[in-house]
């Protein structure tokens, strides 16, 4: 489907499936492109989403294990104490619950508004409150095997945060630059510094939805940033909606 075809014609036939998350990526793009300029269809989407939300309430109730509440409250108590031992050690871990690592601790400090990167903390709090929030791992490359990062964004927003740890602390006049790649072509984005413990966070803003890109990467660059990468890639990860 040509997305331009949809700018001037309404997308009524796609709206219900869009609200259910049942469209193909090119159809999602077409709808979102149209919604940018069509208040009428935005209202229809809001109504369709409200109907889809109603399904969430209707699932028949099944009680979880009686000890789930205790396990949750222990985990919350650990978070409140700022403890690194915030994992639920009585259960297998999954990608959605990985918090006991240096990046996660740095994330918590950002969320608490600590340090110089409180702007990143505010956006992080917003993103984590977004039901569509996506958190993706961005591993260190062979150039920086001890480094790792988390990409925090949302399919419907053109901004997000990259939170990194295990980097070499930035020397005077040097920083790390975030790049978004599409088809192998890097587009320069924000610059951040790694502190003495190797942590840093960059707030990125884009001119199009983040999942239009396929990869996010980080390279060391001069403090003012570069128009094209000059340093080796130290962090790189695929951008996927799921």
């Amino acid at each position: 489907m040509d997305r331009m075809d949809r700018r001037d014609s309404h997308v009524d036939d796609l709206i219900d499936a869009y609200a259910l998350g049942a469209l193909e990526p090119d159809e999602v793009d077409a709808v979102e492109h149209h919604l940018e300029t069509c208040p009428r269809c935005r209202v229809l989407v809001a109504r369709a989403r409200a109907l889809a939300d109603a399904f969430l309430l209707a699932v028949p109730r099944i009680a979880p294990s009686p000890d789930l509440r205790d396990r949750l409250m222990r985990r919350i108590a650990a978070e409140a104490a700022g403890s690194a031992a915030s994992m639920d050690t009585s259960r297998p871990t999954s990608a959605t619950t990985t918090t006991a690592n240096p990046v996660a601790r740095f994330l918590r400090s950002l969320l608490g508004g600590e340090g110089e990167t409180h702007d990143a903390g505010g956006l992080l709090r917003d993103l984590l409150a977004d039901p569509e929030c996506v958190i993706l791992p961005v591993p260190g490359t062979d150039e920086a095997p001890g480094a790792s990062a988390r990409f925090v964004g949302s399919p419907h927003r053109r901004e997000g945060v990259l939170v990194a740890g295990g980097l070499r602390p930035s020397e005077a006049g040097r920083a790390y630059q975030v790049w978004f790649l599409h088809g192998g072509q890097p587009q320069p984005n924000t610059v951040f510094r790694a502190d003495h413990s190797g942590h840093g966070a960059g707030v990125f803003r884009l001119d199009r939805p983040v999942f239009d890109f396929d990869t996010v990467a980080v390279t060391p660059e001069p403090e003012g940033g570069s128009p094209a990468p000059t340093g080796p890639i130290v962090l790189a990860g695929a951008l996927r909606r799921e």
Partner: protein
């Protein structure tokens, strides 16, 4: 903020404000209120109790971390929590690449009937609004023609695209698209007839 009268439960927004201030007891009260709904939704999507419990914890940890940014003017807390649960659960299913396309149908008629027996669906701490709303939606889903309901369920609870729904059901894509649209329209009509405003 007004103190709740004795015997009157504190409203969701007041509890969220307490959570934002670091009150762990308030988070526990919100778990008591919505934990079962969150767990049930996660279980419906991932079909595995241990994973559903992990995801339920994750939903409430997110509430703990970002309670300050919750805006009651933008929607109910229950909807916010359940959207997060829905999103996390679908992410988990996709991460494991084990989409539950062969999951058994949910019997919405039986689910609606079970509401008459509180012991089957006991949720005494759940909000009255949530319970009434669930009753109406289950009743509406039970009245939907089975092919329409199945297509909508596979899309929304299975995380499948329309072509994937068509492949799973062995139906033509055009048929699936028509069923989803017709089913959603019929649900709107049934909920209006039941006096439920989906946008409330």
């Amino acid at each position: 903020m007004d103190e709740p009268r004795p015997g009157q439960p504190e409203d969701d927004a007041a509890l969220v404000a307490r959570v934002a201030a670091g009150d762990q007891d308030a988070l526990g009260l919100l778990y008591d209120r919505f934990g079962q709904a969150v767990y049930s939704l996660c279980l419906r999507i991932v079909h595995e109790g241990a994973t559903a419990e992990e995801l339920t914890q994750e939903v409430f940890v997110r509430l703990w971390r970002s309670a300050a940014s919750f805006d009651a003017a933008k929607g109910r807390l229950s909807t916010w929590l359940l959207r997060i649960a829905h999103n996390l659960s679908l992410n988990e299913v996709r991460r494991r690449q084990s989409r539950p396309v062969t999951a058994p149908d949910l019997d919405w008629e039986a689910a609606a009937a079970a509401l008459a027996d509180p012991s089957v669906d006991a949720d005494p701490a759940g909000s009255v609004w949530l319970r009434e709303r669930a009753t109406a939606v289950r009743g509406a889903l039970a009245q939907l023609p089975a092919p329409q309901r199945k297509a909508i369920e596979l899309a929304y609870f299975g995380g499948l695209s329309q072509p994937e729904v068509a492949a799973a059901l062995g139906d033509p894509l055009g048929t699936v698209k028509s069923r989803i649209r017709a089913g959603m329209q019929r649900l709107r009509e049934l909920l209006v007839a039941a006096g439920v405003d989906a946008a409330e």
